[in-house]
Symmetry: C2
Subunit: 465 residues, 2 copies
């Protein structure tokens, strides 16, 4: 007899944690650190705060490979009534909205907590306080896996004696520092390249202290939540809007629930359907909803999606980051204009460093630093759209680059929905609109490199005479 | 103010459906078909039934790209009280147990239902009956996304007038047949290669009928559910066993909840801890549970995991499938002995076809047919462990193979947990134990090919004299 059964999202992601990046102790150590760091940076730079991030990794047991990982930030903190679910309920997030952030799934820290619980039995500890609050809050929690709920083991609060805001998260997991360390250090280093406006301190179990100091006081503009664009419409999105709408007519609901639909557009869309514009949206039939979806999709004169939800780094910040890390002979960066794919706006930014301390490339392609919503991507390089463009769509010799060479390409895609291939956020799918924009962006900076190299070559030839 | 929110697993997989393989209409069409076919085959060959599978794809609208996909099987059917959740609740499955099946996540058909609902608004329809029952049951359902629950729109039953058992599932989705058809046909063809014991009929929207007739009446042995092996133990697995155990002593619980632990082994494990063997397992402290985990992991004299949970195809069936499809000049297949990775047993099977109607390879590697738990994998070939072995770990010229050549390698990994890289089941992670076994398996059949080719070469030289 078949054993039919439902499981909770916590059971699912614990059972299949390798899909979320927790494949073995070394990889789990890497993933745990990055999930905490990405949350810490989201809590700061998405809110106009210059980040101060501290990452402390210590052995937690003399015999077993247990490590205590602590990440501290000066971000917006978490309200105390939210903390248990934020850390103890899989599929809970503040990032399910249309705004560019590193986080998107509502999984990251929870899978790390589950991994710690499964390998060491130890709970997660959180200290947090929002700006302006009088109290600092403390929680010790674990996850009830079957119910997908937090279990509060301890809680407390105390008065602040100085102005402090931010969050400190501490987990204890089974790891493998000797295997993980080069990737962890590479991840933190690449994070520093993209966030030269952050102070980042890494303290390792080998008692090493690595400090990336802030070199620029400028932040990327914080992303702003936007309403959905009609290009991204489908029946379930529409049903969601209808069920939560306060508007009494379809006409008003269209104008106020979407960006890019004004009074004229709303009229034109509704003219293509048999729907009375003054009809109560909650009374629309299935047939009418489908008509409305089709009319919205076929209309082609919308204003393009607003880029307000995006938060590009900007060429100035990319150049500052590349200069500090590689002291290159030549450095350039560009930020493409916003584009869209399937209703989601995106911006491609490209940086290029050449010479100086830039690492030597392979014989087939430059060193590639891939970023998505400011997150460095280190694994699954081969199947990433950025790699495909750099290897297949750009002929580097056309730009006077003879590989191997000390050349590095920094490619950043920012979007309200980065098309990651998996929940472990390592690799970006080959979406045609994105591929085209990356190619145009890289060609642009490569042309500037070519100008520099040809000028340098002429000067050398003059000198020889 | 941050918008903190929980979402259901249905909302999650609808929002991020590309991660489950539903990236665009063509790919969604492919994925919907394969999810239904994999369920149909699981319902037959895992239960000792020679499969008869019918796949019907029809246009469902004269204007819009809507397609009705229907898959019928002669399998074990579904009890009527189970149908709504099986098709209407994400993370519901009969395959969360330790037994090799194609299904494993409890997602497949539900994401297809959600995709149909989102693109066409139409519900899923199911007709089903178990062997020996008097009634056939009908359901028309959709999914309440926010609650992750089925909504039954219609239900009915009628008396059988002849013995029939099995399931018919019908979905209507937005698709793109012109873009999807070559991949869909390739998938069905490769399924037929691995299941020469199945009758498979494919009826396409172009009114084509493709029929792969059964050519062998032998089935792989059905997999049997097994108890967990101690190698796979961790704190959460142990807690699950403790909470559901009926045994009153830790000693009895160990012997009866795990395979490979007899009375002697249970004693030896407990001697390494401070736990009284007669203690009630539900009274174990956190410290004692950790001691027990460590003692179980450190013990190294277990019987290896039983392969009863596995269901290899066998060389006879692989050869029958390759012969029918490629009529090769040379064909060989082997089934390696069971091995394990992280507590999960696995078996590698390899087939090789050469000449006849075998397709021509590329210049860098033979044609590769990848399979995991009998499922053909068509996408993400580059990042799959099988591809890595075929390209990087085997020197084909050592086996007298000069690429390009009419040579095809069939590689099948069966396991109670195939290490897929994502829930879309396209690519297998590079696990060292698995990589090694694949290499040994391919080398073995390649040696037999070399014997054949060298013998053939000598005969040709003799003939020339
Ligand atoms: N350091 C932090 N400061 C402020 N809020 C935080 C912090 N860490 C976590 N949170 C809150 O907890 C929520 C859950 O975090 P979690 O990492 O699980 O998901 P996410 O970041 O939203 O998405 P993802 O799974 O993509 O990481 C976040 O959305 C955020 O609201
Ligand atoms: N054709 C069928 N015959 C019998 N049972 C079926 C059939 N289709 C679905 N089921 C039942 O419904 C359950 C859910 O199917 P679903 O495809 O969602 O998940 P799964 O097959 O268990 O896992 P996966 O997500 O990996 O496909 C199955 O576990 C099985 O019990
Ligand atoms: Mg996060
Ligand atoms: Mg399935």
């Amino acid at each position: 007899d078949e054993k039919y059964r439902a499981i909770s999202p916590a059971e699912f992601f614990l059972k299949y944690k390798e899909i979320a990046g927790f494949a073995n102790p070394a990889r789990a150590m890497y993933q745990s650190i990055r999930e905490l760091v990405e949350n810490a940076l989201d809590a700061t730079d998405s809110h106009g705060i210059l980040p101060n991030i501290k990452i402390i990794i210590r052995r937690a047991d003399p015999v077993q490979n247990f490590y205590r990982i602590t990440v501290e930030d000066n971000g917006i903190g978490i309200p105390p009534h939210i903390v248990p679910e934020a850390f103890g309920r899989v599929l809970f997030s503040s990032k399910y909205i249309l705004r560019q952030t590193r986080g998107m799934f509502g999984l990251g820290v929870k899978v790390a907590v589950l991994y710690g619980q499964m390998t060491t039995g130890r709970p997660v500890e959180i200290i947090t306080s929002k700006p302006g609050l009088k109290l600092i809050y403390y929680f010790k929690l674990r996850i009830d896996v079957r119910r997908n709920e937090p279990v509060i083991l301890e809680r407390g609060s105390w008065r602040k004696n100085r102005e402090w805001h931010g969050t400190i998260v501490s987990l204890t997991i089974e790891g493998d520092w000797s295997r993980a360390k080069s990737k962890v250090k590479e991840y933190i280093m690449r994070t520093a390249v993209a966030t030269p406006y952050a102070n980042i301190v890494l303290m390792t179990p080998d008692n090493e202290i690595i400090y990336y100091e802030r070199v620029i006081n400028k932040l990327p503009r914080p992303p702003k939540e936007v309403k959905p664009h009609p290009y991204g419409i489908d029946l379930e999105v529409l049903k969601g809007i209808i069920s939560s709408t306060r508007y009494k007519t379809v006409y008003d609901m269209l104008i106020h629930s979407f960006q890019g639909i004004g009074e004229v557009t709303a009229k034109k869309i509704l003219e293509k359907t048999s729907i009375d514009p003054s009809k109560d949206p909650k009374k629309l039939t299935e047939q009418e909803k489908l008509q409305l979806i089709n009319a919205m999709r076929e209309y082609d004169k919308y204003r393009p999606p607003k880029p307000d939800a995006l938060s590009p780094l900007t060429p100035e910040i990319i150049i500052a980051g590349l200069k500090r890390m590689y002291q290159p002979e030549f450095v350039e960066a560009i930020s493409r204009k916003p584009s869209t794919y399937r209703g989601h706006p995106f911006i491609i930014e490209v940086g290029l460093a050449y010479g100086g301390k830039t690492p030597m490339s392979g014989s087939d392609k430059p060193v590639i630093l891939r970023y998505a919503n400011k997150i460095p991507l280190l694994y699954d390089e081969g199947s990433d759209v950025i790699t495909m463009v750099v290897k297949e769509d750009i002929r580097w010799s056309n730009y006077l680059v003879e590989l191997p060479a000390p050349i590095l390409v920094f490619v950043h895609i920012c979007s309200t929905k980065v098309p990651f291939k998996g929940v472990g956020k390592e690799s970006i799918a080959d979406v045609p609109e994105i591929r085209r924009e990356i190619k145009l962006g890289i060609s642009e900076v490569a042309r500037r490199l070519r100008n520099y190299l040809s000028k340098k070559r002429r000067e050398e030839e003059l000198r020889k005479k």
